[in-house]
């Protein structure tokens, strides 16, 4: 007799990408909300990267959280999961470039990823690892969805 916890492999196979996309979406939603609640603080964080002049930094400080919010929400929609995953791939690559430039320039600043706090969660190495994990997860979702679409499972 099968256990009540038994899940068919095909069900698991089609549910895992949704679960992973949901987790990545949740991280993006949290990051977006923390920035939207304190746009001035996030503007200071963008300024601290010293990659943009003041006015574009101010605009970016308003555009980026909206983009993260949209990507986070879209990852929860089954039909739009791949689009959301592509957005996460693009955003993660931009973030990794910006964080890498900080490391190369030897700047130890608060990354501003989750608000303006100075905790370890906002340190540059942790942010780099986090973005690497999110990028890997998004690529995995894209690959898995492609396989499932080809097999007409989803």
């Amino acid at each position: 007799m099968k256990s009540i916890l038994y899940v068919k492999p095909e069900t698991l196979n089609s549910s895992l990408p949704a679960l992973m996309a949901g987790l990545v979406g949740l991280v993006y939603l949290l990051a977006a909300l923390s920035k939207l609640m304190d746009p001035v603080g996030f503007y200071h964080s963008v300024q601290a990267y010293r990659l943009l002049p003041d006015l574009p930094a101010w605009w970016l400080a308003h555009y980026l959280p909206c983009l993260e919010l949209a990507a986070g929400l879209v990852l929860w929609l089954p039909g739009w999961r791949r689009t959301g995953a592509w957005f996460v791939v693009c955003l993660s690559m931009v973030f990794i470039f910006a964080l890498g430039s900080l490391l190369i320039r030897g700047m130890d600043i608060s990354c501003g990823c989750f608000g303006t706090g100075d905790g370890w969660w906002n340190s540059v190495p942790v942010a780099l690892i986090k973005n690497g994990v999110l990028l890997t997860a998004a690529v995995w979702v894209l690959r898995k969805d492609r396989y499932l679409l080809a097999k007409h499972i989803i």
Binding site: L36, C66, R82, T83, D108, I109, S110, G112, D118, G119
Partner: protein, 164 residues
């Protein structure tokens, strides 16, 4: 034989029916990945424009910039001032300005006694954190509210001091 009418023969269209049509037609129209990218891009630009309308199109002026000192100015006074580190315990343990004491908003009450043990009532106080953070301004404002007069914020945070 059952014929599926579109729109349905029933003149009283239900809300779920409308929602279903909207969803299926929307999904069909936007099945092209490029259209989806453009759609999402347009929506996010629109959202950020609303956000900018509410917050203002230009960056705000720094309200407390008159209380900021540069690393060079601080270095000249470094023998006769009190440094306050508003960063995390981890950052403080990694490296800090010699003689700096920690004072954070998270553990304000617990650390305030330690601050007043070091503060003689005369020395200027300079608060710093990491570049881009707000903690130093918040701590400086709290100290000013308590009646301390010579409280400043280090421009550029710890990095500016390390690179002076």
């Amino acid at each position: 034989m059952r014929i599926n009418h579109f729109p349905p023969a029933n003149p009283i269209y239900s809300l779920p029916f409308h929602l279903q049509v909207l969803y299926t037609q929307g999904m069909r129209v936007s099945s092209n990945p490029l259209i989806r990218f453009l759609l999402m891009g347009s929506i996010t630009v629109f959202m950020s424009m609303i956000h900018l309308c509410l917050a203002g199109w230009t960056p705000p002026m720094e309200p407390s910039s008159s209380f900021e000192v540069t690393a060079q100015q601080a270095f000249k006074l470094s023998t006769s001032l009190l440094w306050v580190d508003a960063r995390s315990e981890y950052d403080y343990q990694s490296r800090h300005i010699p003689g700096a004491i920690r004072l954070t908003k998270e553990d304000w009450d617990g650390m305030l006694a330690g601050f007043f043990q070091q503060y003689d009532g005369v020395k200027p106080v300079i608060v710093y954190c990491n570049p881009g953070c707000h903690s130093s301004h918040e701590i400086a404002n709290r100290l000013r509210e308590m009646g301390l007069e010579s409280v400043y914020v280090l421009q550029g945070g710890y990095e500016a001091w390390a690179k002076r």
